[in-house]
């Protein structure tokens, strides 16, 4: 079996070449473990860079809240029994199977430890799906989360199947609210008995922003409104979240994992807002984001007819549209091709007219390995 490389935090990393631009010090820092590295100028790609990515969430002002856009660009290999990498031997609209997987039933669908499956070869290379926690996996089959299954039909992606010739996959661990944001004691998250005086997390789910906070009453994460437990809410790697900080100090959250070494394919909702993570542990530009190449993306010489991208810049939501040649800021119409989208953040995509089905953003790896 010729499996795709496993993203394993313990794997010795190779040193990135000059094209791998580390995020500047400050809000976000991606630092590589430099042990076992080959620093010769002629080094070529061999293994996945592994390290710590630190997300810093800006403090509230005391009288006011500060909103930050946050995403998590590193992946962590799941450590369950059975084949964490392998070949796909069967595809249904919402499920994938590997006849030789040998998974323990239910281990990849536990609510407290959600998992992702990432396609690592073929035409669906780089697609990453959250697995269902309501439909248990079997020894050979996993089922997609209902939201993603509602947007994508796996049988339309051209995934090859077969014990010897099937496209490859890997199983990744998915972060959750509690695994990333912890408790007031571990991360400094501001807890309160009511959400309007606590730090808030907002996650876009099926087109609706859901809000969460750390309840001092329950000593755990809760959803605002239904007041249900929220510690295990998954944080998809392709999804941008909004963090409203009311605590008066910055929060720094170091995350261990590996930078992706394959093309990224992310789902763009057919209409309305998609909260899209920047996806890589390095900063990029608006022109380099390939957002303008999303199938069905509306470009126009006037913002009235164009889809828009929302980016939080220096504490303000600014909007941009693509005029067919350049990105421009809504309002003053100044060219914004070089606007930086920081690592560990993301954008909101605003499609003004709905397409028949979800689209796919395709981004090449923005660094040399």
């Amino acid at each position: 079996m010729n499996h795709a490389p496993l993203l394993c935090p313990t794997r010795p990393p190779s040193f990135p070449r000059a094209g791998f631009h580390l995020a500047s010090a400050g809000a976000i820092l991606f630092s590589l473990f430099l042990t076992c590295m080959d620093v010769s100028a002629s080094t070529s790609a061999a293994t996945t860079p592994v390290g710590v990515f630190t997300v810093t969430i800006a403090a509230g002002t005391g009288t006011g809240a500060t909103v930050s856009t946050v995403s998590f660009p590193l992946a962590i290999a799941a450590g369950f029994s059975g084949a964490m990498t392998g070949r796909i031997t069967g595809v249904t609209a919402s499920g994938l199977s590997n006849s030789a997987a040998g998974w323990t039933a239910g281990e990849l669908s536990a609510a407290a430890a959600p998992c992702l499956i990432q396609i690592t070869s073929g035409p669906a290379l780089g697609r990453t799906f959250l697995l269902s926690t309501t439909t248990a996996n079997t020894a050979t089959t996993v089922t997609l989360n209902a939201e993603e299954a509602g947007l994508i039909d796996l049988t339309t992606l051209g995934i090859a199947t077969g014990v010897e010739t099937g496209d490859t996959y890997r199983i990744l661990a998915c972060d959750t609210i509690s695994s990333v944001f912890g408790t007031p004691e571990t991360t400094g998250v501001k807890a309160a008995s009511a959400p309007d005086t606590a730090d808030n997390i907002q996650i876009l789910s099926e087109g609706t922003w859901l809000r969460y906070y750390y309840s001092s009453t329950y000593a755990s994460w809760r959803r605002v409104g239904p007041d249900t437990a929220a510690a295990n809410i998954p944080l998809r790697p392709d999804t941008l979240i909004l963090y409203t900080r009311r605590g008066t100090t910055d929060m720094s959250i170091p995350l261990l994992g590996a930078a992706s070494e394959i093309t990224r394919r992310a789902i763009v909702r057919p209409g309305g807002i998609t909260a899209l993570a920047s996806g890589w542990p390095v900063s990029g530009t608006l022109a380099g984001s390939a957002l303008q190449s999303i199938p069905g993306w509306n470009a126009a010489s006037d913002v009235a007819g164009a889809d828009r991208v929302w980016i939080l810049v220096s504490g303000a939501w600014l909007r941009y549209y693509y005029d067919g040649a350049s990105w421009r800021r809504v309002g003053p119409n100044t060219v914004a091709d070089t606007l930086v989208i920081p690592a560990g953040s993301g954008v909101l995509l605003d499609k003004i007219t709905a397409t028949a089905s979800a689209s796919t953003l395709v981004q090449s790896v923005p660094y040399d390995l």
Binding site: T63, G64, A65, V67, W209, G315, V330, G331, P332
Partner: protein, 199 residues
């Protein structure tokens, strides 16, 4: 005594003529909203104010019917900007107010909606920078004014009254000369009164 009163009145008249203070409103007399470039919904706009509904993420972009030349202000050490507004929402989120010239260059100020109450009140904003991405230098002639939310999806309803630009804290050399002159005149008058009373 009459001479002293006349001097003080003259002094006030001179300062009212040289003070660096200008005001525009968000009413129909001054401001036109670009609805294609704004995500706030206009609830109403009368001659002197503009009422908007949206969220703490929403933005407003519009042009002045008559551009306002603030070049004399921004060439000094700073332009003080105060926003008169009210909000019926409980929103503790930051916002940014940007003044653009015709080239898209401008100056940026920040504030927080929690500073405002449910009746119109004036709050000074904080200067946050000059780089708005226009690629050039702000020439001080403001043709468009925008407000950008920095918050999340919390509902926000606001009424915008006016913007006051003031650089009174940094008087021009001519004003300084006038001040010195009137101070000298006042001192002379006082001395004359004292001498007169001794006689």
């Amino acid at each position: 005594m009459n001479t002293l009163r006349l001097s003080l009145i003259a002094c006030l008249l001179v300062f009212s003529g040289t003070a660096h203070c200008a005001t525009i409103t968000f009413g129909t007399d001054d401001y036109v909203v670009d609805t294609n470039a704004s995500t706030f919904s206009i609830s109403s706009q009368n001659a002197t104010s503009l009422t908007l509904s949206g969220s703490a993420q929403s933005d407003l972009y519009g042009s002045l019917i008559n551009s306002i030349d603030l070049s004399a202000y921004v060439s000094g050490s700073g332009l003080s900007v105060a926003l008169t507004a009210s909000t019926t929402s409980t929103s503790d989120y930051n916002f940014t107010l940007e003044l653009f010239d015709a080239d898209g260059d401008g100056v940026k100020y920040t504030g927080n909606w929690s500073s405002f109450t449910d009746s119109l009140s004036s709050v000074s904003l904080t200067l946050a920078g000059y780089d708005l991405g226009g690629g050039g230098v702000f020439d001080g002639v403001v043709s468009t004014i925008a407000i950008y939310g920095g918050g999340s999806t919390a509902a926000l309803n606001i009424t915008l009254g006016s913007l006051t630009f003031d650089s009174a804290a940094v008087p021009e050399p001519a004003s300084c000369a006038a001040l010195a002159g009137f101070a000298t005149l006042g001192a002379a008058l006082c001395r004359r009164r004292r001498l007169g009373s001794r006689r």
